[in-house]
Symmetry: D3
Subunit: 128 residues, 6 copies
């Protein structure tokens, strides 16, 4: 009833590529808020936009990490997207370069918060 | 006296790749502010960080456009970096995808401001 | 092809209620950027979200003015939404109260920028 | 000595309406910082501004939730104001709509943080 | 009716120290918005807070320039406060150092915007 | 290899003045992220910029506290810099005034977060 009839499945497929098991976890969280939330939010984010052609998923995740780190208002989601970026093929070295570049455009405190997020993600991804 | 002795020339070389003639224009602006400003600011931004290996200049400019658009506080510099990104090899289609992705992570008004910046850059680069 | 087949017409209908003539102006701007932009951005903003039941359009525009003023990164869109809010039934007195409340939650400079936007909108709406 | 002589009592009365017991808790916190803090901060926020006529308290709290969620820099206060909004008569359904609207104007990560805050508030208020 | 009976005169006195003629200009702007605005906004800003003892006006203006430059959302007010800072005794050299320090904590684009504001203020103050 | 050969030692000397033992703690954190991070980030922040003449370290730390509190995106670093400010000679009374001034320029929630940070720093510094 909101969005395209097949928007959510496409979104969940992309989310699963970003982190195995994420679709279940995220939809459970959103369903407990409101039954339309997953279709609207994940549908727009991942099916309408991130799932578009023109930039591959690996590069999109690099952009997402850059945006979240620069904004500095969603530390938990920054941690998720550093892991997701690595799952999508971004190397540890590339994460380091993105995070250092954040210091230029958003300042050193934003960079330091991104370092914290990146170190957590490195531990998880490299342990996994 | 500040930074590495050869930091500014390296920075200006990268800035020239981003936009022909930018080094003269930017250093003139910074020198009129303070004689150390160009060495410190351009030296850190472009020689210390953006000039590092690990991510190519094209991808770095995509990240910069993403960060500036998401932060929403430097419209003039966003316009510059859309042009710079295209000069570094980013296609118009890739700019479109970055800008649309901004709507997900920073909201529609940030995306609309980025559309304004991108359209100005498209006109300049495609006319040039 | 993206979103629901009927998302854009619903979005444009709401946009027309916010300001007569806005759909033509906004879609022309977005189409010049990319042919999918209007469907995606307006479709998500107005059909998927703002067009939902649960809060009436007048109250939604009050919320939008509050958010844009607090964020302080989209002055042009703040001006549009003050006018849109008044077109949706928000009184001048209510705009004043929203703008003063911005000073508490986002600070006096954000409030001052909102005063500038509100005064422009007052002139336009009250002249119109 | 600062502000109107009766500014603090009026402020605390409004704060009590927002959450029973909040005046004691908040003034204790502020007094431990500086003896003038409660009069200045609460006096300005609630007596000078939020206590004004022109918009009812319920609508003001909807605006506050919208602003805090869009700014994304005060998660604890966002949680407080979702509870306060519900205490002032905002329904769970209205909170849901505000939070979804945040995704349009401030992006999905801001919306996700607001969902976290809203779910905590729902549990507290509905348990209470 | 709002605030202390003598809050506005005290505020205007401080504003006059920050820039000769500013009280008339600012109150005219605020009065055209709402008759209570000057008393509330200037009264809180300058009488309740900036007029307090504990930090001298010169240092307060340095802090204001730092905050506005770091936030990056009120360029016009940043220009005003660079001029005001210099009128309150801050030297051109000190402005330069504040602006350079902004690059560390808020990033280079915020610093560049502050350079633009500072250069305008330098021209005005030094011409005056 | 990056920056001036002697940039890091100078930076660490300033960091030690801000908090005894901080150089070891911060470099350990940064080294675990990337071997170049300390030289680049601390070198730029403290040797290139904060270590410059023109403003004394005490005033610089007041500015840093103002900027971090106004931005509201780095609570941990705000706590560090309140302590650092006090170690550099800023009095508790001056911290109070900076924090109250934040309410004017960045809003009450930013001020409340700064109060939380300041109270933690007061306990640590005054206990120490």
């Amino acid at each position: 009833m909101t969005g395209a009839p097949d928007r959510l499945p496409k979104a969940l497929e992309i989310l699963e590529r970003l982190e195995a098991g994420a679709p279940e976890k995220v939809t459970k969280n959103l369903d407990a808020f409101h039954p339309d939330a997953a279709e609207l939010i994940l549908g727009y984010s991942f099916a309408d936009i991130v799932g578009r052609d023109g930039i591959d998923l690996k590069t999109r995740e690099m952009l997402t990490v850059a945006m979240l780190a620069a904004m500095g208002t969603a530390q938990g989601q920054l941690e998720f997207h550093v892991r997701a970026a690595m799952n999508a093929g971004v190397s540890r070295e590339e994460i380091v370069e993105i995070v250092l570049q954040v210091s230029v455009y958003a300042g050193v405190p934003a960079c330091m918060n991104a370092i914290t997020a990146a170190k957590k993600a490195f531990e998880t991804v490299e342990a996994g």
